[in-house]
């Protein structure tokens, strides 16, 4: 069984097609990067795969389950959405524990996991502060910790490093690295060098479609470019606006 399979997956908002006939499959344990310029359809794709948005056409399977009809995959996935998602009036600790419990952990286990995440993400000093009083970057860290705390089989990271300072970003990449191979990771980012360094395969999206998909090496060979940024620019070149 593949971790993720999509078949001609499409999502239209009114007339605009955000995702347009996406067909791809991702192996279990694969580190998969979804790249593309603003508005390419990355977030929309992730939302469909998390069951947050209904596709208008096509099918998507996560861990073998059809996302539009079977919710049982939800306990095995987690997502750090592009927009930081924390409960503003709960403390750092309460936010983490809450998520752990919602995904079926007993109170004690949830508490322990929350404490571990607080240490892991160096949030100890702010443990009891309400999430809304944290800085943007700290909320971001919390939001990511809330995605990792459930030990998901499939982890969606939608621009996880957005708003993080240099050190925090490096530390986050170290953390993500330790998950590589154990967890299926679907990542979007605008930091190309990070995707280049970590991803097993990269899918470059353009206007809702797959522009090219493959390993970094394959993409470089296909485009005949040496520098990954050039590869990206070539594969996402804008056609004339309609």
């Amino acid at each position: 069984m593949k971790a993720i399979e999509t078949l001609n997956l499409s999502k239209a908002f009114k007339k605009r097609k955000a995702v347009d006939g996406l067909t791809l499959s991702i192996e279990k344990g694969e580190f998969f990067a979804l790249l593309g310029q603003n508005g390419a359809g990355k977030t929309t794709t992730i939302k469909i795969l998390c069951g947050l948005s209904k596709p208008t056409e096509g099918k998507a399977f996560v861990l073998g389950k059809d996302v539009s009809s079977d919710d049982s995959f939800k306990e095995k996935i987690n997502v750090s959405p592009q927009e930081t998602a924390v409960a503003p009036n709960l403390s750092v600790y309460e936010n983490l524990k809450f998520i752990a419990e919602i995904y079926g952990n007993k109170r004690n286990a949830a508490s322990e996991k929350a404490e571990n995440m607080i240490k892991y993400f160096s949030l100890s000093e702010r443990r009891n502060d309400k999430a809304k009083t944290l800085s943007g970057g700290m909320q971001r860290k919390l939001s990511i910790a809330m995605a990792l705390i459930t030990d998901p089989e499939v982890l969606f990271l939608d621009e996880p490093t957005l708003g993080l300072d240099v050190r925090a970003r490096r530390e986050l990449w170290e953390k993500i690295k330790t998950l590589k191979g154990k967890v299926t990771i679907i990542l979007t980012t605008h930091y190309l060098e990070e995707a280049e360094a970590l991803a097993d395969r990269i899918c470059i999206m353009n206007r809702g479609r797959i522009s090219e998909i493959g390993t970094v090496q394959e993409l470089k060979e296909k485009t005949g470019k040496d520098n990954f940024e050039d590869v990206f620019l070539m594969l996402t070149e804008q056609e004339d606006e309609l």
Binding site: E75, V79, N89, I102, G104
Partner: protein, 241 residues
């Protein structure tokens, strides 16, 4: 299990905004004191403490609609609830998780309301306890309305709708004037809505006259069930965008 976890989060969210709770519990009580003072001067039937307390108890629940509506609409517009929609929680669990903390507030409101009326001179007897119990299913009606509003509208709209809704409850429930004296179409309209039935039900229990109460109860139950079903439907739709 999940329901209690989500309930507890919602309770925290509400308790950490104590001002609005104090307002929701306090305002109906002030109204009650005011009418009781008025009654001492003018002495009309409708403002008898047994009657008016029943009206106030029902009216105070409109704040429960406001609280649940606000909480849900705020959650919906935040990315937090959006994230939760990718979790294993089901629509049913969300709805119950929103309902329980509100139920708790409603019970506190009822108890405060009757405690005040006793302080204002109402005779304490077992009927009062029955009334508080009967008010529990009545509060579910108001919670369901709040959940439905919160699932349909944003928090600003919910605030505006509440202002109108509270008027409808106050005027159609017969707490301010005897609907039988008005009669005609107005009375029919009021009794097509559930609020007059709710006040009549509570009044009947308070004064220990149970005749005809079952019909009132059925009206409330049907409204409650229908609105809950609608709320779940709309909420489910929200979960998929």
């Amino acid at each position: 299990m999940n329901i209690s976890v989500f309930s507890s989060r919602n309770s925290k969210e509400i308790i950490r905004d104590p001002l609005s709770i104090a307002f929701g519990i306090g305002l109906p009580l002030i109204l009650q004191i005011f009418v009781s003072a008025l009654q001492n001067k003018i002495g009309v039937d409708i403002f008898k403490i047994e009657y008016f307390t029943s009206g106030i108890a029902v009216f105070s629940f409109s704040f429960v609609s406001l609280f649940s509506g606000m909480l849900i609409s705020k959650d919906r517009t935040s990315s937090f609830l959006n994230k939760l929609f990718s979790s294993p929680l089901s629509a049913f669990e969300y709805i119950l998780g929103y309902t329980f903390p509100m139920l708790f507030i409603a019970i506190i409101q009822s108890v405060c309301c009757f405690a005040l009326s006793i302080a204002l001179g109402m005779q304490f007897n077992a009927n009062i306890i029955y009334a508080v119990i009967v008010l529990i299913p009545v509060s579910l009606l108001f919670i369901a309305i709040g959940i439905l509003l919160g699932s349909l509208f944003n928090d600003k709209q919910v605030g505006g709708i509440f202002a109108g809704f509270a008027q409808v409850v106050a005027l159609s429930s017969g707490m301010w004037f005897d609907l039988n004296l008005i009669g005609g179409v107005m009375k029919s309209i009021c009794y097509a809505l559930p609020f007059a039935h709710a006040v009549d039900l509570v009044k009947g229990v308070v004064i220990g006259n149970y005749s005809g109460l079952f019909i009132h109860f059925i009206w409330i139950a049907v409204y409650t069930v229908v609105i809950y079903i609608l709320a779940v439907k709309v909420f489910k739709k929200n979960m998929k965008n």
